[in-house]
């Protein structure tokens, strides 16, 4: 077997593959394509450390290769007793000092960045959103604005937005890879972090802390729109009339069914502080149903009839009377037309797509 030759070839192939893959991470999901302040800060450190690590690895691999090529007992070599070396002070000092220096190079920017991202001194001048993590959905309460939404978080682009996060049940973790690193959402305390998107767009958010069966389905979106669009959105949302009559009769029937089937017991429409279930005020503008399904009527009917088949262990299953397919269709009709604002995810022009 060609020991080191085989090995280095594997490494070469693997790194090639890696580069290839790195190129095609999904837009607005990949941490490798930072679009926000936190993600950029992290990316700088990732690159810095990766470069240093590559250097260290190269050194190790070089010595390793030399050792294997030169000192390997090849076929036909005579057995001999090598010199029994005890050690070498100089060498050992060198490979103690150099790593220390390299680590200092990493440590200093790390500490600076850590304090930078933890800085909350400007929180009051900016938009504050109270974030609540729930099994398995997210709730956003725009502090002082009387706006409550779930699943989709609208923010103005280029502005810091402070998130004050707390969980209503188990630990979750708020992560929007392309905008910012994650922060845990604990039941005992409020954690504050800020996010800032550099460009308009719909960014994919994930729950990153195991929180039960549907942990992998606890997705959400951050929608960064321009400041004007955001202001308009705020305005629209503040003027929602939950009592407004839906346009079509089907939707109207849907609305009645929605009330009759106990849906209102948990779901709020309008700025109600109730947080048992997702607030549906702007449900018609959602990019996904329950965070994961494409927003089609079919899917919505499926969800209403049997949420368990979509999100195992969700807290809606079994909490309302059975609804027929027809009824569900009507409810769906009603919910899908809840589009109180002209500002929708479409307005966050998705770049490069």
């Amino acid at each position: 077997m060609k020991g080191w030759m085989g090995k280095s070839r594997i490494f070469f192939l693997l790194s090639l593959l890696a580069l290839l893959l790195a190129g095609c991470g999904k837009e607005n999901l990949s941490a490798l394509k930072p679009e926000g302040y936190g993600a950029e800060t992290s990316m700088d450190l990732i690159i810095l450390t990766a470069v240093i690590m590559l250097f260290v690895f190269a050194v190790v691999l070089l010595v390793y290769t030399i050792v294997l090529v030169r000192f390997r007992k090849k076929k036909g070599d005579k057995e001999f007793v090598p010199k029994q070396v005890e050690g070498n002070k100089t060498l050992e000092t060198i490979w103690t000092i150099i790593p220390i220096v390299l680590l200092l190079i990493i440590a200093v920017p790390t500490v600076i960045a850590t304090f930078d991202l933890a800085d909350k001194s400007q929180a009051e001048e900016h938009l504050n959103v109270e974030v609540t993590g729930n099994q398995y959905w997210w709730h956003f309460n725009y502090e002082g604005k009387k706006i409550q939404t779930s699943q989709d978080l609208y923010i103005p682009v280029g502005e810091k937005v402070y998130l004050n996060m707390k969980s209503s049940d188990v630990i979750h973790s708020f992560w929007v890879p392309s905008i910012s690193g994650k922060m845990d959402v604990n039941p005992t305390n409020v954690n504050t972090m800020f996010i800032k998107a550099n460009e308009e767009g719909v960014y994919y958010g994930k729950c990153a802390e195991l929180c039960g069966p549907s942990h992998s389905l606890m997705d959400f979106k951050v929608i960064a729109v321009s400041q004007e669009e955001f202001d308009q959105w705020v305005n629209d949302m503040q003027n929602v009339d939950p009592k407004a009559k839906p346009g079509s009769t089907v939707a109207q029937e849907g609305k009645t069914l929605f009330q009759e089937n106990n849906c209102m017991g948990c779901h709020a429409i309008g700025s109600s502080p109730a947080q048992v279930a997702p607030n549906l005020t702007n449900f018609g503008d959602r990019t996904k149903i329950a965070g994961v399904l494409e927003p089609t009527k079919e899917n919505l009917v499926k969800w209403i009839m049997d949420p368990e088949s979509i999100k195992e262990g969700n807290k809606m299953t079994g909490k309302y009377p059975d609804v027929s397919k027809e009824e569900a269709g009507k409810i769906a009709e009603y919910l899908m037309q809840l589009q109180p604002s002209d500002i929708t995810p479409e307005d966050a022009k998705e770049n490069n797509k």
């Binding site: 693997l14 800060t41 690590m53 050992e92 490979w95």
Partner: protein
Amino acid sequence: MSTAVTQKRSFGAVLWDYLTTVDHKKIAHLYLFGGGLFFILGGLEALVIRIQLMQPQNDFVSAGLYNEMLTMHGTTMIFLAAMPLILGLMNAAVPLQIGARDVAFPFLNSLGFWLFMFGGLILNCSWFLGGAPDAGWTAYAPLSTTSPGHGVDFYVIGLQIAGAGTLIGGINFLVTIINMRAPGMTYMRMPLFTWSSFITSVLILFAFPALTIGLFLLMFDRMFGSAFFDVSLGGNEIIWEHLFWIFGHPEVYILILPLFGVFSDLFSTFAKKRLFGYTAMVFATMLIAFLGFMVWAHHMFTVGLGPVANSIFAIATMAIAVPTGIKIFNWLATMWGGQIKINSAMLWALGFIPTFTIGGMTGVMVASVVADYQYHDTYFVVAHFHYVIVGGTIFGIFAGLHYWWPKMFGRILNEKLGYLTFWTFFIGFHLTFFIQHFLGLMGMPRRYWVYLEGSGLDTGNLISSIGAFFMAFGVIVFFYNIVYTAVKGEKAVDDPWDGRTLEWATASPPEHYNFKQVPLVRGLDPLWVEKTEGKGTMTPAEPLGDIHMPNGSFLPFLMSLGLFIAGFGFIYHMDYNWAYILLFGGMAMLLGCMLTRSLKDDLGHHIPKEELEREAD
């Protein structure tokens, strides 16, 4: 000699022998058997994980079952596979390396094994009794305290029992190494494997109590209505995270340090050189262990501890790279100028260096707090820890097994099969885990049952899953090798590798008293010293005399069984009254055995000098 006798004995006799043995070599066999069994289980769970993730939105297993798989995979691999395999190697080699006839507490040694075995069994019984634990191997509260069913109860009880066994094992090795060394075997002449076993035992001693308490609190919350992690009654779930990681981080060094020892012994043996910078190696190991206690919060960077705590823990974590680097370079320097003989054992050791270095370097990368905000709880971390755990611990266990197999079983593992195992496993390993670094950065959190279509994660996951099957193939070849060797294997001589340390001065496999006469140690690498400066064999340090040996005992098995039964009582007492019978019955059994043990004097037996003389011919 002993193998020939064994073959003639009936199966029942052999079984009874193993159930009652207190001989460290047989206990090593038991540990290897138990650990191997659980390794296969954990590996099969890993395969289920990889099959589920082979394509987006797969439904090979349900979401709940997936969480059970990943929890049991992590828990099984760490506590029931890696730890016992390591303890198996320690039992097999340490007493021999220091020239002792047995460990300090043979009875406790056996008790430690049975506790581990029954703890592991109880944990795995959960599969058949309503579902396995599903809160991750880290069992973060309140997910773990609110998880329905009994899964997490099994986790708590199983780990508590197995953990007690490990703690006992740790104390046993500490005392053994301090008190039982042969004349002349000073601390600074101990082989590195013994040294690292010693330091690992210290880690076990100080780390496991944190787990014990954590598990107690979890148990109280789940079974007795206390409120440690219940926010509504003032509880604080972060306490669990601290306790778990105060244990958990030292635990990962418990998993790696003994194997650093194995590699040190191997490199010097197969390069035919003494270990380069022996003193530095010893102190580096100590430093790693020492620092290992001050870094636990690097698993909690995103918890919200604040920038001060995060910075301190980040720097402490990075510091560990320095002593570890010293080790890597000293190993390279050991081989430099030597005559490196490559065989299956050495292949694992050589494969370890680049693999572990990558893992260690990603470790330093995740230690960089703000970068970790991205890495944390993603596949990047999964990649990191499999690189160090599989690339370090599992490679090391394979290396150690190939190296000591002839000493343990009297036969040499087949080389061709050994090569095949190594290469398929090695290639499969890198295929599986290298790509995961990028998956993590591309937005794939860990513990995800599915990833959505169109997330750009498909190819990477497919490659990763294919790699896992390569590894599975390698493992199967290894098990085939064991069977093949047992049937057709080449008989091993006492010293097949031109060894340097004391274990190679005994028979393969050694007599149950190890050394007829305790050897006199005249330097580092004592056997090598005798080979180059003496007559090639160890000089005895004492005249031939009676040998005092401990008696076998069935009590350790019974005690563990008692706890096993009581464990079920604890788990089910909330639902059924009959469970109290189990609870009290099991405890009574345990206490009864303890009482028997302490009231009945057990002074051991002597092997008379005459018999030893007779055996000599």
